[in-house]
Amino acid sequence: MAFATCAIAAVSPFVLVALNSAKKSEEIVQDPLSLPSSLGQLATNYGGVMENSNFDYWSSFATSLIVTVASLSLLTLFSSMAAWVLCRFKTRLSSFIFMAFVAAMVIPFQAVMLPLLSTLRALQDFTGIKFLQSIGGLVFAYMRFGGSLAIFVIHGFVKGIPYELEEAATIDGCSHEGVFFRMIFPLLRPIQVTVVILDGIWIWNDFLLPSLMPGLSGGIKTLPVAAVSFIGSYVKQWDLILSASALAMIPIIILFIFAQRQIIQGMVDGAIK
């Protein structure tokens, strides 16, 4: 019984958000625990927030989605490739690269965030490719920041795949690339799911990097950045703030309901390895 109470307490903040996002500001201030008087207000609040130019829900939702999906696809592909090479072709250089990747996991984002901006600015001037203020640059950065963990986890998994399999394929006349793309890559599926979940949740929710790189005031905003800039401009307007929070939470809650087993499994595996 006590357990049930705990569980209810755990989800109650979400219930409060849902309840209060369907009220007018005055109603919330009067009594935040009361039931909303009419459901029509819900649509008004959410509609208002969605259309607000500071939040611009659909465009920031799309940005978040593009950034997350693009980063994850590239990250999975490239880190699988790298992990496989690092695991199978052992030279002094390859073990050094692997160590460098693993060691870099320790570096907190704060330690590199400022020089990162100036490095990217220099790269931008040098190559003419836009790194700052662009979705591409953000994806490029995520690819790396997620890369350490991905390489580390996938590397461990590749070790478990018998080398004889690859030898057999090579004898049958398969090229290196063929061995990787036709055989290894599909075999890596389970561990890739783990990587996608771990890095996906982090990228989706990340605030600091997208707030620095494309900038809080810039045209490109991910959902967390949009939520902050929206909330920042409506201090104490709880009806709007809560509707905005709810809108920012809904996508991931829906995803969780459909894929909870995989998500929990993936996050736990990632922590243990």
């Binding site: 755990a10 989800v11 460098a100 929070s245 929990i264």
Partner: protein, 279 residues
Amino acid sequence: MFLAPLVLSFLATVMTPFILGVFYSMTDWTGVKCENFVGLENYAKMFKTNDYIYSHVITAIFTVMNMFLVNALGFALALLCSSKIRGKQAYRMAFFIPNLIGGIVLGYVWQFIFNKVLLSASGGVSMLSDPNLALSSIVIVSAWQYSGYIMMIYYTGLQTVPTDVLEAAQIDGANTLQTMARIKIPMISQTFTVCIFLTLVNSFKQFDLNLAITAGAPSRLVGMGVYHSTEFLALNIYNTVIGKNQYALGQTKAVVFFVLLAAVSLAQVAISKRKEVEM
């Protein structure tokens, strides 16, 4: 060839910035240009600023409180979840959900709860206006957000304890408490190491909740100085740069931040290695 994409991006986003960062911390960098090499001056200056020292203290207090609370809660919930109760799945979901949502959004939601809901329920003042209570508020939210995750790791660990060992203990007349202390806890000691370090590192790096719930407020008087009572290290670095525009100083603090975290990670590796030898 296969390595190229990640290695290139690694060089551009981590190695170069990291080396540059250490270099910048020894100059008078303004974010755009640096003119003079000043050696360790920034480091000396940094340790003389009291608000920075205060951030270290408050981060340490938060880390210890949070580590203890999250692990205690997580382990207790894991035990309950692995016992025979109905609707396990639903409970696990309920505890796990907060962990999936970004700290920024959760922070605003809880700010609402502390400032409006709990206020109208007690009729008093907001918890967030008292330095000590504000710190506890962040601990509460962080524990709420994080213990579901830690619970799942402990839960997975508990599943690996073989049932025949537990049955043997039961036949030998061990009670629940003895089974717990003598069998379950020792058998999952590796899981404890993982969880404790995970919470240690994460509490130490706490930024999102800190920014969204209190942003460092309220102020606290210590001796002659006024401090942001809940400004943790990560936020202190952020404010030094974004708020005060002191790029070189902020970068210096970030380097120290890295050194502290690296020390923690080395300790973790050393402890896990020693455990493996024992087993």
